[in-house]
């Protein structure tokens, strides 16, 4: 995995976050309390001189890790975040596609409608998944949340505000260019707070965090940030190997995303 120029990535992301704030009437960000969306908030604080200038939404299905909830409360207070918790009811018989697709997406639809958000900042990265690599920085969704991936908008020279006819909202992806190792390098240099579950305990750590049901830890002895960076520079394993929705069967991710999943 290539370690890219952090300063360059930071400048690109700040520019994009400012574009999002400037181009939409009512923008919000998704926050899963993971390393990526927390890094995005750290970048937003730089872009707006210490204050995150938009609400942050947690789509809460009630089955995130206890550490994750604790992290949410602590950081929301410390960074003075305008936190919106959008609850989605989890039913025991639901799993995988139904849970991520129907459940999370329904909750997201409701919160966007209730607050009238027209822009939504989502911290996905190209290197996470082949389908996410196909994304634009500004990516419209229609009112049914459908991603028209067969006919995406034009996006030239970093002009992200191309015209489109979507009647829904626009997803904004400020971290698209970042690699997993870049996130950790940024966390290290800027002391971005992180969920303790990322660090190895008893030979295992979470490399990517989802909810309790669908996330499994990977073998690792990386107990601190430096060791995680070292591990990532040489690994041949996929980051989301512990995430069920990516592998259930071919194209699950594509289908989930076309329905409105992140």
């Amino acid at each position: 995995m290539i370690k890219q120029d952090i300063k360059l990535l930071e400048e690109r992301s700040i520019y994009i976050i400012r574009e999002a704030k400037t181009n939409f009437k009512n923008v919000a960000a998704l926050w899963s309390m993971g390393k990526d969306s927390t890094t995005m908030l750290a970048l937003a604080r730089k872009a707006f001189h210490g204050k995150v200038p938009f609400p942050v939404i947690h789509i809460d299905n009630g089955i995130d890790f206890p550490e994750t909830y604790e992290f949410r409360e602590t950081l929301a207070k410390k960074w003075n975040l305008d936190l919106i918790v959008a609850k989605s009811e989890i039913k025991p018989e639901m799993s995988g596609f139904a849970c991520c697709g129907a459940n999370k997406t329904v909750a997201l639809k409701k919160v966007l409608k209730d607050y009238g958000f027209d822009g939504l900042i989502v911290s996905i990265r190209r290197d996470e998944h082949g389908i996410r690599a196909k994304e634009r920085v500004f990516s419209p969704r229609n009112k049914n949340f459908k991603w028209n991936y067969k006919n995406q908008v034009a996006e030239l020279w970093g002009d992200y505000s191309s015209n489109d006819d979507s009647d829904g909202h626009v997803r904004v992806h400020p971290l698209l260019d970042w690699n997993e190792v870049d996130i950790w390098e940024y966390v290290r240099r800027n002391k971005v707070p992180t969920n303790p579950l990322y660090f190895s305990r008893n030979g295992y750590r979470y490399r990517s965090l989802g909810c309790l049901h669908c996330t499994t830890p990977v073998r690792s002895d990386a107990g601190n940030i430096e060791k995680i960076i070292k591990e990532l520079e040489t690994t041949k394993d996929e980051e989301r190997a512990g995430r069920d929705q990516d592998k259930e069967k071919a194209y699950v991710m594509e289908k989930l995303r076309s329905l409105g999943y992140m």
Binding site: I2, K3, Q4, D5, L8, E10, E11, I14, Y15, R18, E19, K21, T22, R45, K46, A47, F48, H49, G50, R126, D127, G130, I131, A133, K134, R136, Y149, K150, Q152, V153, A154, E155, L156, W157, G158, D159, S161, S162, N163, N179, T235, K236, D237, E238, A241, A250, Y251, E254
Partner: protein, 406 residues
């Protein structure tokens, strides 16, 4: 590490996705799982594994064996980072192709050596696109050489065809290299192939390393700041990006197109107060006076500058669809209506021939004069590309790109 962004160019089915897939595998830049998954999928489809499957990850792309939208993949080789931008080669997907290619530092053009393939109209169109995107470094890989017995004659023939077209469209000052390859069989990709004994040059990856090193040192140039918008409700601070040059606290700048002069009282770089900022920086500027109701679209320069403001532009336009309806351009982050557009010359990009009059056909180019509804800040594309290019719309739909020529 700074990653060199390399866009692929070339006709559909000349092997762009296959080449990137092969390079990812040959340089060990991709996880075993991604390769296993792609192999599994091709087996399920009852097809032989094809390295392009790693890149083309939409179901439709694999079923139809074509790239629909642009994607990127990174490779590290001999301590140099590359990001390959895969783009669709189909004519009707030019919008997607341009979206990917516009980010490139240099280009890798693929031409199939098969007898019935070679340099096509679409190949030429892509070379024209490279010219319009300001690409000054081009590596031409003559692919599928295995299909013509690794023939030197065929390689030379294609080389000459490319040279002829470059002459015809006046594409000068370009650093160009040629390499014979087979993307599918990984010949001459990383190691030099023993099947092309007549070829004395380097492997493709080694050429790319060489080309990336030849990038001339960033000469800073004159100050240009693109303003994104107001930072505060009082409208006394603005934020934007330094496109070229550098700026210090206390400097006086001129804001185009209005021409208003203002002093920078305070300067912030990436949110932190600083005494100066340079090319690439994202800045917040606290100004000594209010500058008006709109900040977006303004360009900050020093008193002596080659940039100017005006509402008349002379440009080269490349269209992606039939021009009809109400034209507008998007430049410096704002959209402006075109009051009048006159075609001075039209260019058939598939041959390089130009004609004195007529209308610009879809997917072709022309020289135009445009009268805008209001003034904008600009320079020629040659001098300052970031404020010398625009996106072209008709009826608010993406219809092409343009570069300012005078």
């Amino acid at each position: 590490m700074i990653v060199n962004r390399v866009t692929l160019l070339g006709n559909k089915d000349h092997g762009k996705s296959t080449l990137i897939g092969s390079l990812l595998m040959e340089t060990g830049s991709i996880s075993e799982q991604r390769i296993r998954d792609a192999k599994k999928t091709s087996k399920k489809l009852g097809r032989q594994f094809e390295p392009g499957y790693i890149l083309d990850s939409f179901e439709e792309e694999r079923l139809n064996e074509m790239t629909i939208d642009t994607t990127r993949a990174q490779v590290k080789y001999r301590n140099t980072g590359f990001e390959f931008i895969d783009v669709p080669g189909h004519e009707e997907l030019m919008k997607n192709m341009l979206s990917g290619a516009s980010y490139a530092d240099f280009a890798l053009l693929l031409i199939s050596a098969k007898p019935d393939e070679g340099i096509t109209g679409q190949t030429k169109r892509h070379i024209f696109v490279a010219k319009m995107l300001g690409i000054r470094k081009l590596v031409v890989a003559v692919n599928k050489l295995d299909a013509v017995n690794y023939s030197k004659e065929r390689f030379e023939e294609i080389k000459n065809d490319v040279g002829d077209y470059l002459d015809k469209i006046g594409f000068k000052n370009i650093n160009i290299s040629f390499v014979p390859i087979s993307a599918y069989n990984a010949e001459n990709l990383v190691k030099r192939s023993n099947k092309t004994g007549w070829y004395k040059g380097k492997s493709l990856m080694d050429i790319l390393v060489e080309v990336s090193k030849s990038t001339k040192k960033d000469v800073d140039g004159e100050l240009i700041i693109q303003i994104q918008g107001f930072f505060d409700k009082e409208r006394k601070s603005v934020f934007g990006k330094v496109i070229s040059g550098s700026i210090k606290r206390g400097d006086r700048i001129i804001l185009l197109p209005s021409g208003k002069s203002t002093k920078i009282l305070k300067l912030f770089e990436s949110g932190n107060e600083a005494s100066s900022a340079r090319k690439g920086s994202v800045v917040t500027l606290e100004l000594d006076k209010r500058i008006g109701i709109d900040a977006r679209g303004l360009v900050g320069v020093k008193r002596k500058s080659s940039c100017r403001s005006g509402s008349n532009i002379h440009a080269m336009l490349l269209t992606t669809k039939r021009i009809g309806g109400k034209p507008s351009i998007k430049m410096n982050g704002v959209e402006i209506d075109c009051m009048k557009m006159t075609v001075k010359k039209m260019i058939d990009v598939t041959t390089g021939e130009s004609m004195a009059s007529g209308s610009i056909k879809p997917l072709n180019a022309g020289i135009v004069e445009i009268k805008l509804a209001k003034d904008i800040a600009m320079d020629t594309f040659e001098k300052n590309p970031e404020i010398g290019r625009f996106v072209f719309y008709t009826d608010r739909k993406f219809s092409g790109i343009g570069i300012i020529t005078e």
